[in-house]
């Protein structure tokens, strides 16, 4: 279990992490979502001991990490770039941490084989790391950080440098890998889909603080503030009685009888449905509909009452 209490990290006068608290359970993956510069990488680096903490407590399995150097903490970390050691082959990269821990050769060899199997690169032991593709390199980096069985794995935008298709595949695979290894993880990303895909819980961070923590569906369906809603990609934020409300894009259905008159402005096809912009009394709203509506026509739309979420002002 990783416990973080009131953690502060400063760069000069700037508080990159401004009094942040969160716990991560032993078999849990926390997706940490935030725009670039929000301090999420700094948080990871502080947990790993690569940045000095100004105040606060970080405990791993009950042990206070504050006074331990990075190499004594027993955390695993994966960087945005694979950061493989260019002068060593795949096996030597993966067994590095085991060698540091003083494991004997036969044990190391067994563990390397095991991990290559886990990340789907069987037989890659003696490959030169410079000849690996981006995805292969990132898998080797994952195997390398998992090898010493760290209590917690910190992933700093590990798929940031990969192309879309590869990233989607790894997002599918990573939760299973982490579960198989039974490791707690904090996975930092600025991509919603990636965060929702890998995280048991999602934490949203801006300006060094956590805005909201919860399961993916809660973060998306019930954001607490307008700021958070906008960050999650919501566009339908309306004012009612001087208060902001979120109208979920899934809220509308076409209804010949009831509903309000709206004018169809544009429609485009995405992921099997039609993303449709309509003009209402409250401005332009965007809904996901099952059918294509003719642009320029006027249709009656019903908006489900429970899909209109009150937001805190921000």
């Amino acid at each position: 279990m990783l416990e973080i209490q009131d953690l502060v990290v400063r760069y000069g006068d700037v508080e990159a992490v401004a009094g942040l608290s969160i716990d991560v359970a032993d078999d849990e993956t926390l997706a940490l979502l935030g725009p670039s510069g929000c301090g999420k990488s700094t948080l990871l680096r502080a947990i790993a001991g690569l940045e000095a903490m100004a105040s606060g407590v970080v405990r791993l399995d009950g042990v206070d990490l504050a006074r331990l150097a990075p190499h004594e903490r027993g955390v695993g970390m994966m960087f945005q770039q694979p950061a493989l050691f260019p002068h060593r082959d795949v096996a030597a990269n993966i067994e590095f941490g085991l060698r540091m821990a003083g494991m004997e050769v036969s044990g190391r060899r067994r563990r390397v084989t095991e991990l290559l199997e886990l990340v789907g690169l069987v037989g890659y032991e003696s490959r030169d790391v410079m000849t690996l593709s981006g995805g292969e390199a990132q898998r080797v980096a994952l195997a390398r950080s998992l090898a010493p069985s760290p209590s917690v794995l910190l992933l700093d935008e590990p798929f940031g440098s990969l192309d879309r298709a590869l990233r989607d595949r790894l997002v599918d695979e990573l939760p299973d890998l982490l579960r198989a290894a039974g490791i707690a993880a904090i996975h930092v990303t600025h991509d919603h889909a990636e965060a929702f895909g890998v995280g048991d819980r999602v934490a949203v961070m801006t300006d060094g603080k956590l805005l909201q923590v919860g399961p993916a569906e809660d973060i998306w369906r019930k954001p607490e503030s307008a700021e958070l809603a906008r960050f999650m990609g919501h566009r339908n934020i309306v004012e009612r009685e001087g208060r902001p409300f979120l109208v979920l894009p899934t809220a509308a259905s076409v209804d010949a009888v009831g509903g309000v008159d709206t004018k169809v402005l544009a429609t485009r096809f995405r992921d099997g449905r039609f993303v449709t912009s309509v003009k209402t009394d409250e401005g332009v709203l965007e809904f996901v509909l099952q059918e294509r509506l003719a642009v320029g026509s006027t249709v009656k739309l019903t908006i489900a009452g429970d899909a209109v979420i009150p937001l805190e002002r921000a």
Binding site: E72, M77, Q81, F85
Partner: protein
Amino acid sequence: MTIFTSRAARWVTVFVPGAFVSLFFIYPVVTVLGRGLGSDGLTAFGDLASSGRIRDTIWFTVWQAVVSTLITVAVALPAAGIVARLSGRRQQLVRALVTVPFVLPTVVVAGAFEGLFDRFGLDSGTIRLRHTVWAILLAHVFFNYAVIVRAVGSYWAGLDGRLEDQARILGASRWRTFREITLPRLRPALLASSAIVFLFSFTSFGVVLILGGPRRATIETEIYRFAVTRSDLSSAAAMAVVQLVAVLALIVVTTRLERRRPVTATQPRRESLAVQPLWLAANVFVAVVLLGAPIGTLIERSLSVGDRYGFDNYRALGERVQQLPAPATTALWNSLVFAVAATAIAAGVGMLASLVVVHGIHWLRHVFDLGLTLPLGTSAVTIGFGILIALDEPPLDLRTSWWIVPIAHALVGVPFVVRSVVPVLRSIDPSLREAAAVLGAAPGRVRREIDVPIGLRGLVVGAGFAFAVSLGEFGATSFIPRRAELLTAPVALFRLLGTPGEQLRGQAMALAVIIMVMVATAVLLIESTRSSNEGSI
């Protein structure tokens, strides 16, 4: 216990290079300064000043350096433009070829030009080049051609050629386009490399001593003549102080210019305007005549025996001649052994020093960075002279020791090692070290596991240069006592060149060819490892 060993390791890392440079560079230079600024030195300085000798020497030194630089730029700049337009492989080949003259020992080059003058009757008669300032200038252009072609050429290749295309479309002539669009953008690279050419010409020793003849004197040759020929150490020290001050000022200017130089763009140049065949032919002709003729004649002369060709001159190298304390073959063997020892010292000291430059605490980094680059700028003559007068009494009397040669050579080689290793260490992605630390490597272990093995790639290049430099080193070695076991090949060559007579001249040419082949082989090997490394990282 682990703390103790890592602290001891850190101490060794700082102490070994620190002590080496302090003892064999800083202490001798300070001794020279003390001698030159002491009462004897000042008296000598006064005498030299009142006779106008200092003024004349400084004037000639500056004058020949300025003219050498201007001619080099004028001749090499067009070639740089052509090299910039060549495709990758060809560019690499041309760069390697023009670099060969640059790395040749000064004594060999001087010998080659002497041979050239011999062969074409330029040593007397209507066009006389031997022992004229023209000989010096020619040799300096020969040496420094590569500096401009390489530095400006690669910078030029990184410039976006579409700007020139645009200018041509807008109606500018070729020359106008060059003057108004290309030249201003080349300025940083051109200034920085010209400053380097100036520095090299300013501190040139072997070329001036041999090709300039007895009457032409630069500050370098004056130090040598005072110290070695006339044993007037006070005057030599006074001259050395002048040289130290001048070189220090030049280094400050050069590093400023280098710092201002922006990072070269990496985008491949897209050149649509082809090189005119006539222009290309003219440049190839200049390069071949300028670089090829001296080398070609040198080889021809070494094989020429009376009116036929043969290997007699090479065979004669095994025999003892009166001018040398040992046969030339012994000198060659000595040089090889010295070069191996000097390379080992330079590699060890340079590697440790590089670690300090990259990872040391703040002030120590700067001290090491500066302290280890200074020997590169300081003239070899000053270093040799300093060692001669500073390390001459117990407990450190090196004059009689065999080690004096490899140590002096290593001193000249260390900056090459540092300059090759430090950029490699700096280019290591910090996340590699962080990854190693997170995986359980303590700081000392991170150095051993990451920095040292990766830095070794730079070390191979640096050590190769140190080896080549040692093989051809003449400036510092010329101050070392004349004893058979200390005789190096360049010094032997210098002696042979200085002696009149057809037969010794032929032997000198043969010896020069052998040194040239050894150095060129070493350098071409380095170039090939370097390019293959660049391909894989």
